[in-house]
Amino acid sequence: LLGFKSVNSCSKKQVALKRMLNFNVPHIKNSTGEPVWKVLIYDRFGQDIISPLLSVKELRDMGITLHLLLHSDRDPIPDVPAVYFVMPTEENIDRMCQDLRNQLYESYYLNFISAISRSKLEDIANAALAASAVTQVAKVFDQYLNFITLEDDMFVLCNQNKELVSYRAINRPDITDTEMETVMDTIVDSLFCFFVTLGAVPIIRCSRGTAAEMVAVKLDKKLRENLRDARNSLFTGDTLGAGQFSFQRPLLVLVDRNIDLATPLHHTWTYQALVHDVLDFHLNRVNLEESSGVENSPAGARPKRKNKKSYDLTPVDKFWQKHKGSPFPEVAESVQQELESYRAQEDEVKRLKSIMGLEGEDEGAISMLSDNTAKLTSAVSSLPELLEKKRLIDLHTNVATAVLEHIKARKLDVYFEYEEKIMSKTTLDKSLLDIISDPDAGTPEDKMRLFLIYYISTQQAPSEADLEQYKKALTDAGCNLNPLQYIKQWKAFTKMASAPASYGSTTTKPMGLLSRVMNTGSQFVMEGVKNLVLKQQNLPVTRILDNLMEMKSNPAIVFVVGGGNYIEYQNLVDYIKGKQGKHILYGCSELFNATQFIKQLSQLGQK
C-alpha cells in the first residue's frame, strides 16, 4: 500500500539529500562515529532545493565544512572530498571541468539535479582525462530532485527561472510555439522528477483546452517512454510494491490558473497565508524589519530604529506546524499561552537553583542532594527544550506582531470580510465605492485587489457609467489600471469557454469587535480588529478535486499550471482534514502573493 510515509515528500527529500551528502550511501547516525568531512558545491537551483529542508546546522551535522556556490571564486582545498549538486547546464559543466583541471579537491562526487545528457557527460569525461583526474571522480548520480519541497504536502517547481514559467510567460499573447515548448518542457521535467522521487506513476486528469492540458500530454508521454524501457525504468525496484499498477496509483490533477484569478488576489486571514501576503516570505524564510518595541505608535508614524531579522519557518518549528493554518486571532492567543507556560517552567528551574544553593553545605543532606540532583538533572536536560521553546516564542511574537501591524494599518480584516461576501454572493452592507474612496482603508494595491475580485466574481458586468465611476475612484486612490485591462480580456475569453467560477454559498461569521484578545500582559492588542471565524468554503480548485476524487485514489496531487498561493493550499488542507487516511499534495509552477500577481497582470494589461 502506498502508505503515508511514502507520500511525505519533505522527509523523503531530506533523506535523499542526506544520502547524497553522505557520499551516496544511506546515512546512519552513530554517536561514537568518527567525523568525516567534505565540502558542498551547489548552484542556485541546488541552494533553493536544500535551504528549505536542511539548516546550516544540519549541514554541519552531515560533516560539511564549507558550502559554496559553483560560480564563485574557490580556492584549492587539499585532501577534502567535494560533493556537487547542480543542474546539468552548459555553464555549470564548463565550470566543473575547470575545477577538475585546477585540481581543487581530492575527490569529486557529482550529483545532477535533473538527468544529464550523454554528450555533457562525455564533456566531463574529456576534462577529467585531460586533467588526469578520472579516478578522482568517485561517483556520478542523477538525483531527479528538480523541484522545491516547501512543506510535507506542498512543492513548487523552481525559483531561479520562475520568470520563464510564470503566469505572464504562459499567458502573454506574443508567445511563440517554440517558447511555449520550452516552458512546457521545463514544467514537465520537474513534474517527472517529482514522480520519480515519489516512486509512483500517476493517473493524470486535466482541464481541457488549457496550458494544463499541454503539460498533461507531455508528462504522460515522458512517463510512458520511461516505463516502456523496462530495464532502465525509474519506476521499478523496491520503492514500488506489487500493487503498483492497480488502484494505488496517485491521482494528478493538472489545473490551469485561469479557472480562478480571484483567489490569488484575495486578502486572507490564516497565519501562513498572511505572512506570505504582507511580509517578505520566501522559500520558508521570512525577512522582517524589526521595529523597536511593541509600543503603539500613532497611525502613520514610523518607528525610528529598524533592525533586519530573518527567520526560518520549518517543519521543526512545532508552533508553526500547529498554527500555520489557524485564523490570526487564534495565533495571537496561542503565542500568549506558550509564553505563560514557558515562564512557569522557567520559574521551576530557578526554584531548583535556589534550593541547591541553600542546602549544599549540610552534610547530613546527602540523600536530599541526590533527590535534588535527580530533579536538577532532569531540569538541565530539559533546558535545551526550554531554550528552543523560548526561541520559537520570540520568533512568533515578532512575526505575528509584524503581521498585526499591517492588519491594523491597512484594515485587512475589513477587506477580507468584504471579499468573502463578494466571492460567496451574499449581500454587501457597504458600497464598494465607499471602500475604494476611503483614504484610511488600505493601500492602492489593496483597493485594486478588491475591485478586481468584484469584477471577476460579478455575474453581471457593471454598466459603462458605473465602470467609469469605479475607474475614477481607483485612479484617485493611486491605482494603476493596467491589471483591469487584462482582467477584462480574460473575463471575455472565459465567458466564451465556460461559466465563471463560483465560490460556494457560506460566509464568514463575524463574532463582533474585540477590544482585547487576552488579559493584561498580552503582547497583542487587537483593539478594533474583528475576530473573524472562517467557515470552510471550497475554492474552485478544491471543488475540482472534490469532483474527481474517488474513494480509491490516494494520494491526490493538485498541480496548478500558471502559479498558486498559500490560500489555495490551506483550503485544500482544510478540505482533506475531515477525510481519514486521505492525503493531498499541492504544487504549482510558481508561488506568488497578490503583489507579485498584480504586477504580472499589470504587465499583461499594458498595450
Binding site: T32, W37, P78, L121, S132, F141, V196, T197, S367
Partner: protein, 308 residues
C-alpha cells in the same frame, strides 16, 4: 529515487579515449593516463594538517575502544560479587579513570595545538574556514567519546552514594528521627514489635552508636567490601526480627482469608433464602390482593343494605 550513473561515466571515459585516439588528439595523460595521474598526484603536498588531524582522530578512536572494552566490567561490578569473571576492583577502576583522563587531556591539547597552527601560512579564507570546521568536528568527536567516560563514572559515583545511604540504615530521607543514636528512640521500638526479645534491642542500639562514626567517613576505601563482625551480628539480629514479623503477618493473612471465605458462604445461603422467600411472598401478595378485593365488595354490599 537517484540513479547511479558512475558506470555510465566510466564508459564515457572509454568512449572519449577511443575517440581522441582515433582523432589523434594528444592528451595530457594519453594512454598511460592512470600512471600519469599517480605521478601527478604524489608531489602534491599531502598537507601536514590533514595527516595530523587524522592522527588525533585515530587517538580518540583508541580512547573510545579502550573505554568500550572495559565498560561492561566497570559498570557491572557490584551486581554479581559472586562471579569471578568480570569482577573489577576499585583500584582497577581508578586506574581506568586516570588513564582515560590523561588520554583525554592529551587529545585536547593536540587539538588546541592544531588550532593555533592551522592558520599559519594560509592565505585562503576558505581553507581557514574549512580547517576550523574540521577541528570543531574533531573536538565534537572527543566530547562524544568523553561522554562515555563521564556516564560510567557517574554510575559509579551514584553506586557509592547509594551504598553509603543504605549502610547508614536510614529508611527514608524524610524520617530523620531514626538517624539519631539516642537510646530513647531506639527503645521505643520494642512497644511495636511484641515478639521482640528485649535483650536484642539493647544490643543493636549500642552497635549503632559504635558503628556510626565509622560509617560516617566518606570515600574511604576501607570497610566498603567487607563487613565488620559487629555489623554482621547486627544484621543477623535484624534478619531474625524481620522473619518474626513476616511470620506473624502471614498468620494474620491466613486468618483473614478464612473469615472472608466464611462470609462469602454465608452470603450464598442468604441469597438462597431470599429467593425462596420470593415465591412465598408472591403467593401471599396474591392472597392479600384477593382479600382486599373481597373486602371491598363486601363493604359495598353492606352499604347497599340500608337502601333496601
Amino acid at each position: 529515487m537517484a540513479v547511479d550513473i558512475t558506470l555510465l561515466f566510466r564508459a564515457s571515459v572509454k568512449t572519449v579515449k577511443t575517440r581522441n585516439k582515433a582523432l589523434g588528439v594528444a592528451l595530457g595523460g594519453g594512454v598511460d593516463g592512470s600512471r600519469d595521474e599517480l605521478f601527478r598526484r604524489s608531489p602534491r603536498p599531502k598537507g601536514d594538517f590533514s595527516s595530523r588531524a587524522r592522527e588525533v582522530i585515530s587517538h580518540i578512536g583508541k580512547l573510545r575502544d579502550f573505554l568500550l572494552e572495559h565498560r561492561k566490567d566497570y559498570i557491572n561490578a557490584y551486581s554479581n560479587t559472586m562471579s569471578e569473571y568480570g569482577r573489577m576492583t576499585d583500584t582497577e577502576r581508578d586506574q581506568i579513570d586516570q588513564d582515560a583522563q590523561i588520554f583525554m587531556r592529551t587529545c585536547s591539547e593536540a587539538i588546541q595545538q592544531l588550532r593555533t597552527e592551522a592558520h599559519k601560512e594560509i592565505h585562503s579564507q576558505q581553507v581557514k574556514e574549512h580547517r576550523t570546521a574540521v577541528l570543531d568536528f574533531i573536538e565534537d568527536y572527543l566530547k562524544r567519546v568523553c561522554k562515555l567516560y563521564s556516564e560510567q563514572r557517574a554510575i559509579r559515583v551514584k553506586r557509592v552514594v547509594d551504598k553509603k545511604r543504605l549502610s547508614k540504615l536510614e529508611p527514608e530521607p524524610n524520617t530523620k528521627t531514626r538517624e539519631s543514636t539516642s537510646s530513647e528512640k531506639v527503645s521505643q521500638s520494642p512497644s511495636k514489635d511484641s515478639e521482640e526479645n528485649p535483650a536484642t534491642e539493647e544490643h543493636p542500639e549500642k552497635i549503632l552508636a559504635e558503628t556510626q562514626p565509622e560509617l560516617g567517613t566518606w570515600g574511604d576505601g576501607k570497610g566498603e567490601d567487607e563487613l565488620s563482625p559487629e555489623e554482621i551480628q547486627m544484621f543477623e539480629q535484624e534478619n531474625q526480627r524481620l522473619i518474626g514479623e513476616m511470620n506473624s503477618l502471614f498468620d494474620e493473612v491466613r486468618q483473614i482469608e478464612g473469615r472472608v471465605v466464611e462470609i462469602s458462604r454465608l452470603q450464598e445461603i442468604f441469597t438462597e433464602k431470599v429467593l425462596q422467600q420470593e415465591a412465598e411472598i408472591d403467593s401471599i401478595h396474591q392472597l392479600v390482593v384477593g382479600a382486599t378485593e373481597n373486602i371491598k365488595e363486601g363493604n359495598e354490599d353492606i352499604r347497599e343494605v340500608p337502601h333496601l
